[in-house]
């Protein structure tokens, strides 16, 4: 296990993912969000490749390939396609303004570092763990602050990216069939989300969650 090396390749990619998610928090355009997600997933795939090489586990290469396939190609394609086909508006909505979102994101990063220090001070590099936590937290921020289904969906996907990265970073990868099963799950989830986007667009002509206030008490 690599000790406290601060700027080796995996850390670089982890930081890259973190940076991308920080940018994502303030983006209000649908295609921009999906694009950044695609880059982030690509970074994740490359990260997996690096781990495969450094830890000498060829299975991880297969995993990286599937990550690339599902998260970089298929999922973004589904999202963009449904947006185009159903006339979903490009402009997404949030409870916070972009600058406020970025500030919250920065706070999240600080919290992530504090959390990482408190818990996983050993192994796999403090910075990587912190980046992974921050990734999860920014996913949560997107989930909580975005006012439309798309924003929430992307937020969820980012959070899953973070958890996946956690799995890769700390646990040296899970058994391959579990990884694949999780990816398949994610794909199915996206298909479902896309289905719901379509229905929402048909029924409410928008994907905003503001319409979801009928079921109270």
């Amino acid at each position: 296990m690599s000790a406290q090396l601060t700027f080796d390749l995996p850390t670089l990619f982890a930081c890259g993912m973190l940076l991308l998610s920080l940018i994502m928090v303030s983006r209000m355009r649908l295609s921009s969000l999906v694009g950044i997600f695609r880059y982030q997933s690509a970074l994740l795939a490359i990260y997996a490749v690096i781990l495969a090489i450094s830890h000498d586990e060829p299975e991880l290469l297969a995993v990286a390939l599937f990550i690339a396939l599902v998260k970089v190609v298929l999922i973004p394609a589904f999202l963009i396609r449904v947006a185009k086909q159903n006339g979903v508006s490009e402009r997404l909505d949030s409870y916070l303004r972009p600058t406020t979102s970025t500030s919250v994101g920065l706070v999240a990063i600080l919290l992530a570092f504090a959390g990482a220090e408190a818990t996983f001070a050993t192994s796999a590099g403090l910075i990587i763990v912190a980046c992974v936590f921050a990734l999860i937290l920014t996913g949560l921020i997107l989930l909580i602050t975005r006012k439309d289904m798309f924003g929430q969906g992307i937020g969820f996907l980012v959070m899953e990216n973070g958890i996946y990265a956690f799995g890769l970073a700390l646990a040296g990868g899970m058994p391959i069939f579990v990884e694949l099963a999780v990816l398949f799950n994610l794909l199915a989830l996206t298909v479902l989300m896309v289905l719901l986007f379509r229905v929402a667009q048909k029924v409410h002509s928008s994907v905003s969650t503001e319409h979801f206030k009928r079921l109270i008490d």
Binding site: A171, M174, L189, R214
Partner: protein, 483 residues
């Protein structure tokens, strides 16, 4: 072996509807399919109850007494649920509310749902357990949104997003556990299996395991419906078709609780024994107290039943945190609630079909207009309230016995909340059953849904009586020891 056969049969049953031409064939095949699933589950579950150690088929499955118990529950409830679905869907189709294609889709989804649940309780690999539970979320989202109304869409979206996000934390917890196992030097996949974790217990690092448990509790707890992660439950369980609601409330919530109980067992061997208990007690009490407030102001009977499910999950969680007697109470409560709540939802489905409304203001005099359904509903309702000889009486009594010495104030709060819930239930449901009824034509005919509900109730009461007989007691004890 039998477990693989069971899963295979469920898969085949799921595929069948697409080969059928008419919905009548779909329904008949579904009945055959679910009956065979039930019989197979008997073959899997009953030996597991008596086997001295857990059954593992080549390390793929892990079925101990608790697992066998769950397999039996799932097998039975899916059987009665499918039977009820048959008449429900036939009636809905006759009314024109659903198309033939939708009926086919319903049965496919139903069997996939059962498949995912079964996989979650028999699998040895915790990662697969997680995938299976997330799978149930995915399949049931389509079922929650089945009627494609605005409310269904809203319920489906909230259900999907909330459960998936919540259970993602559960996955994080599994990963942390795996990491903990790997720090002890264990190789490969062992840290991700139930059987392996049992072996590793002593060596796992305490603080890491604690973090993992908290994540797991919150994560899977979202799926169980513990407060404050419960907000999706009333929406989802009331929007789904009633037979599905019955299965969601009855068995899915329990199936999500199983990993928590198994992990509790593991963590109890690592951290101080009372540590997990206090977490379970806190979440249990919260989950009992909050529905009390909502029950008082409900206007919809399916939503009322859903809030009751949250409360009962709270009772089970609380009992699980109360030591040996509490574990016995939890076991009994799991079975009792599964049977009673599913029976209630199934009967509610019949009421909905007749009255076309789930609001209390539109429904009254059920025992006069639908005597069979009304009577069955009443019996199941009394069983849920804990009137002897319902097993829920025994479980709540044992829970009180376990709690009163160590947590008197919590017990007082729980009693208060339970009384408020009873009050709300009686105030709302009794006029629905016994009030004045307008004249509606046609006497109710006994159909297979009534048979199914009766089966539920018979098993429920049989369980209530079996508790007091020696062999029943022994089996419960075995299951409880695992918790």
């Amino acid at each position: 072996m039998t477990v693989s056969l069971l899963l295979m049969v469920i898969l085949v049953a799921a595929a069948m509807p697409y080969l059928c031409a008419t919905t009548k064939q779909v329904r008949s095949l579904a009945m055959i399919g679910s009956t065979s699933i039930f019989l197979l589950s008997l073959f899997v579950g009953i030996p597991a109850l008596f086997a001295p150690a857990a059954v593992t088929g080549a390390g793929l499955w892990y079925i101990d007494a608790l697992g066998g118990f769950f397999v039996l529950l799932i097998g039975f409830v899916q059987w009665t649920g499918t039977l009820v679905s048959m008449t429900y869907m036939k009636e809905e189709e006759a009314h024109g509310t659903v198309t033939a294609a939708k009926v086919k889709r319903y049965f496919v989804l139903l069997h996939l749902f059962v498949l995912a649940m079964m996989l979650a309780v028999v699998s040895n690999n915790t990662g697969i357990v997680w995938v299976a539970l997330e799978g149930t979320t995915l399949v049931t989202t389509l079922l929650v949104g089945f009627y494609e109304r605005k409310e269904s869409l809203e319920a489906a979206w909230k259900y999907l997003i909330l459960c998936s996000s919540g259970i993602a934390f559960g996955f994080l917890g599994i990963l942390v556990m795996f990491y903990a196992a790997s720090t002890t030097g264990a190789e490969g996949v062992i840290g991700m299996t139930w059987s392996g974790s049992a072996l590793l217990e002593a060596a796992l690092p305490v603080s890491v395991v604690k973090i993992a448990f908290v994540l797991l509790l919150i994560g899977f707890g979202t799926k169980v419906g513990l407060v404050p992660m419960h907000a999706w439950l009333p929406d989802a369980h009331s929007s789904a078709p009633s037979p599905i609601s019955g299965m969601l409330s009855g068995v899915l919530l329990n199936a999500a609780l199983l990993p928590i109980l198994r992990f509790k067992n593991i963590v109890d061997g690592v951290a101080a024994p009372g540590w997990t208990d206090q977490l379970l007690i806190v979440f249990g009490v919260l989950s009992i107290a909050l529905p009390a407030a909502f029950v008082l102001v409900q206007r919809d009977y399916k939503r009322l039943l859903a809030y009751s499910s949250i409360e009962h999950m709270g009772l089970i969680t609380l009992s699980a945190g109360l030591g040996a007697i509490g574990s016995v109470a939890a076991t009994i409560h799991i079975a009792g609630h599964a049977l009673a709540k599913s029976a209630l939802f199934f009967a509610a489905g019949n009421i909905l079909l007749k009255y076309h409304s789930t609001k209390f203001e539109n429904v009254s005099g059920v025992t006069r207009i639908l005597p069979y359904t009304g009577g069955l509903f009443l019996v199941a309702f009394l069983a849920l309230l804990g009137v002897p000889p319902s097993p829920l009486f025994a479980s709540e009594y044992f829970m009180a016995a376990a709690a009163i010495g160590t947590h008197p104030y919590a017990t007082g709060a729980v009693f208060l909340a339970l009384t408020i819930v009873f009050a709300g239930f009686v105030r709302l449901l009794m006029p629905m059953l016994f009030g004045e009824s307008p004249d509606r034509g046609g006497r109710e005919r006994w159909n297979i849904s009534h048979t199914a509900i009766t089966l539920n109730i018979v098993l429920l009461i049989g369980l209530g009586i079996a508790l007091w007989i020696a062999p029943g007691e022994a089996i419960i004890q075995r299951i409880a020891e695992i918790i």
